[in-house]
Symmetry: C2
Subunit: 215 residues, 2 copies
């Protein structure tokens, strides 16, 4: 396990990242259907063969690119979950983050998102269940913390976490097409309103006024 192995492992990861970065640019520029593995290789400045060392197909690259968006979102959610903010504020920020992080990640794609969703929908569907479970685990941790601190009324944290996820899922780019997404501010406001309604319900009475926006 010498240093050489470490260096080569890092490089492999860097190449992978470069391929996914190139895919991101090309999806925004051409859309999924028009994009080829040759395009990705050229954009990344590497040989086509190198791409096939990392990914079996254009489909695989694109799915990994979506995975990366959700991985980054999860890092973001954990960062909020472990921050010093009030537990209700953290939950609200996390709900807004799970909607807007995705919005921001695909906003530049405009037309081509429909392409991608149409072509990969069954495979994305299988992944989505996993994405939501991972997200639910982060939400459950904060809900449990709130329950321990007697700030939230929560009986089953994981089940409540899934309800939070379902309550905001209609605002994700996956459910909405690009036309339907609307303006970022609008999406943000809708998410915040749902978050506030639910937070008011979760908060124990003595804490309730703190998280209420309109009172």
């Amino acid at each position: 396990m010498g240093q050489k192995v470490m260096v080569s492992a890092i490089t492999r990861e860097e190449v992978r990242e470069a391929i996914l970065d190139a895919t991101d640019h090309l999806l925004a520029r051409y859309g999924y259907r028009k994009m080829t593995v040759d395009d990705i290789a050229q954009e990344a400045g590497i040989g086509k063969g190198t791409i096939y060392l990392h990914f079996a197909s254009k489909e695989e690259v694109t799915l990994s690119h979506v995975d990366r968006i959700v991985e980054r979102l999860k890092e973001r959610l954990w960062a909020i979950a472990r921050s010093d903010a009030d537990v209700a504020i953290r939950l609200r920020l996390m709900l807004v983050a799970r909607v807007l992080f995705r919005f921001d990640s695909v906003q530049q794609y405009t037309q081509s998102l429909n392409d991608l969703l149409a072509a990969l929908r069954p495979k994305l569907l299988a992944r989505r269940a996993r994405y939501f479970e991972d997200e639910a685990r982060v939400f459950a941790e904060v809900l449990n913390e709130g329950a321990r601190r007697k700030v939230f009324n929560v009986d089953d944290a994981l089940s409540t976490a899934f309800a939070l996820i379902h309550a905001t899922n209609s605002l994700l780019p996956y459910s909405l097409s690009t036309n339907e997404l609307g303006e970022r501010d609008e999406i943000k406001e809708k998410t915040e309103h749902i978050a506030d309604l639910i937070l008011t319900g979760l908060l124990r009475k003595q804490n309730a006024p703190a998280a209420r926006r309109r009172r």
Copy 2:
């Protein structure tokens, strides 16, 4: 304005209903793409020309069929809204109804719903905004009543009504494909959980325990 005019108006409406009933059966049996106007005429037991007296195209018939589902849902929502039940119970029933009424209306289609959504998505999109506005008005009426009776904490009833709609939209067949819809019981439970979370938030403190399922 003799009786004859009345009779002919009723008959015209009946023919229209028969065409939409036939469309419903055919969508379940063949799916949107395979269904033709000839099929609809045969299923309804009328001439093809009669269909064109009512609808310009297969697309128009199908969109009117979707309109009819939502019209019936709205009747259902108004019936619940105007019932004698506790105002919080009414709101909960309405949330579950808006999800399950749609689920039940398309459940028999299985595969063919994807067809229909793919073919008509842009046109359905425009209609959906109107559907949601109409639904929001029913919810707002109950929210306002709850506020007047000092059962709910609601500042802007229409805006809260839209939040209720967005919070349950991810469970509608339009956002989910048939594969994604899952079991009816599962959908029902998810909707009820969201409804309970939000209701707990809306209820004024002294009323809060009444609507809480798990406490």
